[in-house]
């Protein structure tokens, strides 16, 4: 252990040391880049450099799935395990890949060449089954050979785009990110210019008048959030872009970041101006390495061109953006857990209230918005709130990105105005169910969502219509299942996801997700015990009612929805019931 040469680490830490604890995740990434994993001595040196207690560095390392305490392969392969990829054959593929692994007896300090890990949804559902090799995505991986996967010589999977309107996705699907030049030539950063010519209050009024609500799942009115942050006492203030997209089945934010990064930056800069923030963060999930690199490039371009930094566009407004990578924790999509993560801590959600608008990042007033929400901002300023309000329905304004995957003919990212019937999206735009099969159900809102049945096909996709139908819009995930799919298997995968991703802070979720998983395993194996129905109900409702954060409160949502729709699937087998 002691033969580890800490010299390169000490050099690397010079960049992070002055920032202190907030630089912990970036510093750990840098250390892991050097040594391949994070042995004790390396962690201790990072702790010393950043002046963080040793044991808290350890706590952070062990919380995040993408930090390794033990040696891992030079090539790490993440195989996606979510419903869409499983339906496309990820399990047999995983087996096939694992057969190629050489077997080694565990040996201290030994570093294998390849490590294969099951991963939660990688946000590549339209390319299922998907794998990440050293952070680089491969779509339709079942069709590739072992060599093709390990070498990762294939093309990056491209954007699959559809829909009936093209506002948010106007710059998407070109096979590469829109350059700054091209972006500006098409009116890019014009909305920022417009915003800076007005007062911050006027910008907030415009956003309020547009009726825009958050696209990350909670649907909170964006203008109201900004107003709350703007009016809060305390400085400095922060704006944060939540790009920790990890809801199984969601990939919209990844596409926006990879194809049209400047629109997001423009939205965030306008947000900062409106609330009076001088610093912004974009927190991108660890699995989205490509999106991170593209956003990083875009930030550099924008800074060079004077859209970021001091006196933006020659006005008296100073603002800059720092990018942060998550490290494999779904919980960090929860806004307060995300703050904790930026602060260099385990991603434990905080108790609310206080809310971020008054007590957010570093305890300061903070406005945190989802990627897609921010992408709407330039649009609203360009076309005006009134014109924007005419898109969609009266109560759900604008357009919405839907991530369609599973058993549809054309899985992909679809943009439609709010109010579009589900049937139009599914049948006309996405080509309907894969040939020869019929619709059984669709999961709305991802793992934290609920199932739609055939009777829901004519529901209009708006907040108000879906609420009436008892379906969550969530972040816009729709995973479609045909008649051949065993919904118990889908529920087991979702239960597994939550058990893996629970942070462990509050009791209902910490233990409830584990019990839910155990019972779902019995259900799938046809070995339900008498009383399992009530156990699932009690566990589910206790998590829903009593958990601390949104993860726990929705961890039973899909299972409870399935129990309502298909009670027969959860029956105790004849042989076991008396």
């Amino acid at each position: 252990m002691t033969d580890i040469d800490l010299t390169p680490l000490k050099v690397a830490m010079e960049e992070y040391a002055p920032q202190g604890r907030t630089a912990l995740l970036p510093a750990l990434y840098a250390a892991q880049e050097i040594y391949g994993y994070l042995p004790e001595h390396v962690a201790a040196e990072v702790a010393r450099s950043l002046k963080v207690p040793l044991v808290e560095v350890f706590g952070v390392i062990d919380f995040y799935a993408m930090f390794y305490r033990e040696p891992v392969g030079k090539t790490v392969i993440h195989v996606c395990n979510d419903p869409a990829c499983a339906m496309a054959g990820s399990e047999p593929m995983l087996k096939r890949l694992t057969q190629h692994l050489e077997f080694h007896a565990p040996d201290e300090g030994f570093r294998p060449s390849v490590t294969i890990e099951r991963a939660p949804c990688l946000g590549l559902c339209e390319h299922a089954p998907a794998v990440l090799v050293k952070g680089k995505p491969i779509g339709n991986a079942d069709l590739r050979t072992w060599e093709e996967i390990v070498e990762n010589t294939g093309h990056q999977p491209g954007t699959i785009l559809g829909g009936s309107i093209s506002l948010l996705t106007a710059n998407c699907g070109r096979g590469q990110k829109v350059s700054l030049e091209e972006f500006v030539n098409h009116g890019g950063y014009g909305a920022l210019r417009k915003a800076l010519s007005r007062t911050p209050e006027a910008v907030i009024e415009e956003v309020k008048a547009s009726g825009l609500v958050g696209r990350g799942g909670a649907a909170f009115p964006t203008g109201v959030k900004w107003e709350g942050t703007a009016r809060a006492t305390g400085s400095p203030k922060y704006v944060v872009c939540n790009a920790d997209e990890a809801e199984p089945g969601t990939f919209k934010d990844r596409v926006l970041m990879e194809d049209d990064p400047h629109t997001i930056l423009e939205g965030l800069i306008i947000a900062a101006y409106a609330v009076g923030a001088s610093k912004g963060y974009i927190y991108i999930r660890g699995e989205y390495l490509r999106a991170y690199q593209i956003m990083q490039e875009a930030v550099t371009e924008a800074r060079k061109a004077g859209y970021l930094g001091a006196a933006i566009l020659g006005k008296g407004f100073n603002f800059d953006i720092e990018l942060r990578r998550g490290a494999g924790a779904y919980i960090c999509g929860e806004e307060t857990a995300l703050f904790e993560s930026i602060e260099g801590k385990r991603g434990f959600p905080r108790v609310k209230p206080p809310f971020p608008t008054t007590f957010g990042l570093f305890g300061k007033p903070t406005s945190i918005n989802n990627v897609e929400t921010l992408a709407n901002i330039p649009l609203i300023l360009r076309m005006g709130a009134e014109a924007y309000h005419r898109i969609g329905t009266e109560k759900s304004t604008g357009s919405k990105l839907f991530c369609l995957s599973g058993d549809v003919m054309r899985p992909g990212l679809y943009e439609v105005p709010f109010g579009t019937p589900f049937r139009d999206l599914l049948e006309d735009l996405a080509g309907g169910i894969r040939s020869g099969h019929t619709f059984q159900s669709a999961l709305f809102g991802g793992a934290a969502g609920a199932f739609a049945l055939e009777s829901h096909l004519d529901v209009r996709l708006s907040f108000e219509d879906l609420r009436t139908a008892g379906l969550p819009l969530g972040s816009g995930v729709i995973t479609v299942f045909d008649e051949t799919r065993d919904m118990r298997d889908i529920c087991l995968r979702l239960a597994h996801f939550f058990a893996e991703e629970s942070c462990g802070k509050c009791y209902p979720c910490q233990m409830g997700t584990q019990r839910q998983l155990e019972i779902m395993k019995r259900v799938l194996d046809g070995k339900s015990l008498p009383g399992d129905w009530e156990r699932l109900q009690d566990t589910g409702w206790t998590m829903t009612d009593a958990s601390l954060c949104g993860l726990g409160q929705t961890a039973a949502s899909a299972v409870l929805s399935a129990m309502k729709h298909w009670p027969q699937l959860f029956q105790v087998p004849e042989t076991l019931s008396r």
């Binding site: 108790v351 058990a499 629970s502 233990m511 584990q514 019990r515």
Partner: protein
């Protein structure tokens, strides 16, 4: 803001100063709300959720240990939803850890009619006792992750930072840096963690030996080495005597 907040708890009129928690207001009114992770001396994290109550108009249940009272608030401490959550949380605990030395929680199990073995075939959080120092024993199969020990070791009291968490979710456990033995950690053996542990997961070593049936003499023998080593530190005196 008015000087006094008026609310009702289980139909009873209560008047308390602003900023009072629902838990404190209820106690003042003689209404007992159960708590597990709550401790007067540590920061409340509202994580055990046993103290949840139903507040009219709130979408989910509210942790009374941290939620402040509001004017006109209507609180139910014994509603059907509250009872179901408390009972299920207790049953989850029962199925996960060894509560044999947690009399307060055992009483709650009785009060809420929680069923022993409600979750058959459940994976328990088992681990072997860690006996790595002369002062106390750590038996994490009894640990309910109330966080108190971590808190008193950190900013809530001692600023020692010897313990934190390993893993996450169901696999979470209290741990030293890379699971090193306690004497190699920054632990100063102040004993505060042992003092706030509600389940016997942390226990003074001599108490543990007594419970194992060792006689006081045996315990003296077993720990003599430690006392000897302490005596050796004053060796200069020995030389003088010689």
């Amino acid at each position: 803001m008015s000087e006094i907040i008026n609310l009702t708890i289980d139909g009873k009129q209560v008047a308390v100063p602003p900023g009072t928690t629902i838990l404190a207001a209820a106690r003042e009114a003689g209404i007992e709300i159960p708590t597990i992770c709550f401790h007067e001396a540590t920061t409340s994290n509202a994580l055990c959720r046993i103290c949840v109550v139903e507040v009219e108009g709130a979408r989910v249940l509210v942790p009374s240990c941290v939620a402040a009272v509001g004017e006109g608030m209507k609180v139910q401490t014994q509603s059907e939803r509250v009872i179901r959550s408390r009972r299920t949380i207790l049953e989850l605990l029962e199925s996960t850890v060894d509560l044999s030395e947690a009399p307060e929680i055992q009483q709650m199990v009785v009060d809420y009619q929680a069923v022993n073995d409600r979750f058959p075939q459940a994976e328990e959080r088992q681990s072997l006792p860690i006996d790595d120092n002369p002062m106390y024993l750590r038996d994490y199969s009894k640990c309910i992750l109330c966080w108190r020990c971590v808190q008193v070791c950190a900013e809530d009291a001692q600023y020692t930072f010897a313990i934190n968490f390993s893993g996450r979710g169901y696999e979470t456990q209290i741990s030293t840096f890379y699971e090193i033995p306690m004497p190699e950690s920054t632990c100063v053996f102040c004993g505060q963690c042992v003092g706030v542990c509600p389940t016997g997961a942390l226990k003074p070593k001599r108490q543990w030996l007594l419970e194992l049936g060792r006689t006081p003499d045996e315990i003296m023998d077993l720990t003599r080495g430690e006392r000897r080593s302490r005596r050796r530190r004053v060796e200069p005196d020995v030389n003088e005597q010689a």
